[in-house]
């Protein structure tokens, strides 16, 4: 097994293979051609891809031979009585005891107990009593973030755009909104509602799971009490609170990276450059990390488009809407363009690959 980067694009899944130094990269022939791959992971010897096609709908594709052959999930959909129809699959996340979780649009969650062959709708979330106050963002009403507490696998967080963050402390049986202190500036008569926030990405630190971060439509936030309270972290070097991707260094809970955009009305990176902003003090201050990144550039990176690896030193990876993948083998000190001219990149995940 060796290190690979799974790059989900508008036109298939690409696998990048790196050398030990993470400085030389090759791009392999695309997998799942014809599918929009919103997110792909490897887990327990299988590859899972949230795959969508504009004609043929939404599914999860699974491969147990590293992409040589694929199987579609069976009967993925929402019950008639829900009044909902599955629109897109967004994110696959491994949970406790072999469970897999799937986030999808319109604002729904599924779980699988048979390694992704079949998926059951999670009615406790899908029929949540606050649902009438949820609204779709520009990308649809997507359940895009699913995070498991590494010290208590019965605690699960999800985030929906635009419904906010929800936490379950009982393995998914019940869900409570956790949006206190996060803004919804687009609701002028109630800018701090219980639900309805447009979270763009939510992550829980794997080594310090009471610490959560989110990149929101309205700011970057950190919580140190499992989402009970959120602190807004803009300013102090961050040029904008608007952006989509977020990455946490698994080796250091003080380190987070974001890639801001000018704002909701102009979704390109600020100052005419492709810039990653990094904090090493829990969000008190931010510094530009752009050594090796192109300038001038007016880029953008999607919400699933940035990831850390688990190596030492930590490497970080992101892919742009313009089809480039950048790798930093030293956590953001220097960037290398590992691939270019790919289709629009939707997701980047580090994987163990055969």
């Amino acid at each position: 097994m060796s290190l690979a980067v799974l790059v989900g694009t508008r036109k298939g899944l690409f696998v990048l293979r790196g050398d030990e130094d993470r400085r030389q990269w090759t791009v392999e022939e695309p997998l799942l051609t014809g599918w929009d791959v919103f997110h792909a992971i490897t887990h327990d010897g299988a590859v899972y891809a949230a795959a969508n096609n504009f004609v043929y709908g939404a599914t999860v594709q699974r491969s147990t031979d590293f992409g040589k052959t694929w199987e579609r999930s069976e009967g993925l959909g929402l019950p008639e009585e829900s009044g909902l129809t599955l629109e897109k699959t967004w994110h696959v996340e491994p949970g406790a005891d072999g469970t897999l979780w799937l986030g999808a649009a319109p604002g729904v969650l599924f779980r699988s107990e048979d390694k992704g062959t079949s998926w059951q709708p999670v009615e406790s979330l899908n029929a949540h009593p606050t649902r009438e106050r949820w609204n779709p963002g520009a990308g649809g009403m997507c359940t895009h973030s699913i995070q498991i507490d590494s010290k208590n696998d019965q605690t699960i967080y999800i985030a929906i755009s635009a419904a906010g963050v929800f936490r379950s402390d009982d393995g998914g049986e019940t869900w409570v909104p956790k949006n206190k202190g996060t803004a919804a500036d687009f609701i002028p008569d109630d800018p701090f509602p219980e639900v309805g926030q447009c979270v763009h990405k939510l992550l829980v630190h794997p080594a310090q799971p009471e610490r959560l971060w989110q990149q929101n439509h309205c700011g970057v936030y950190r919580s140190d009490d499992r989402g009970e309270n959120w602190e807004r972290l803009e300013g102090n070097g961050l040029p904008s609170g608007f952006g989509f991707p977020l990455a946490l260094d698994p080796r250091d809970p003080e380190v987070a990276l974001v890639i801001p955009e000018v704002g909701a009305e102009n979704r390109v990176t600020p100052d005419g450059r492709l810039g990653v902003y990094k904090t090493t003090d829990g969000g008190k201050s931010w510094e530009l990390s752009s050594n090796g990144l192109p300038e001038p550039a007016w880029g953008a990176v999607m919400r699933e488009g940035m990831s850390f690896d688990r190596l030492d030193p930590s490497g970080v990876y992101f892919g742009t809407q313009s089809g480039s993948v950048f790798v930093s083998p030293d956590g953001g000190g220097e960037w290398i363009e590992a691939a270019s001219q790919l289709p629009t990149i939707l997701s980047v995940e580090v994987a163990e690959w055969q």
Binding site: G34, F54, Y56, T59, R72, E74, L76, T85
Partner: protein, 86 residues
């Protein structure tokens, strides 16, 4: 008497590489629902996906009775993705 169903490339890939099916079915809908890619042609509420077009012997079924179009046998049903996307 059997009818023939022809699938475009992506659907054929999802059907294990088979692009042509011979099967017995009384209607166009029954023929499509007998395929191993039924879930890609119909949503979970059994509605034909809006960008899937179906032709019987060269004629669009949306203009002729849709999924209820009756088959006598010997027809060729062709599934075509609508022109859309980028």
């Amino acid at each position: 008497m059997a009818v023939t169903v022809l699938l475009p490339g992506l659907l054929a890939d999802q059907a294990g590489g088979q692009k042509e099916f011979e099967l017995d079915a009384p209607t166009v809908g029954a023929a499509l629902r007998a395929l191993p890619v039924r879930d890609l042609l119909f949503d979970e509420h059994d509605e034909l996906r809006s960008l899937v077009n179906v032709y019987v012997d060269g004629a669009a079924t949306r203009e002729r009775g849709g999924l209820e179009t009756e088959l006598e046998g010997g027809e060729t049903i062709r599934v075509v993705a609508a022109i859309a996307g980028g």
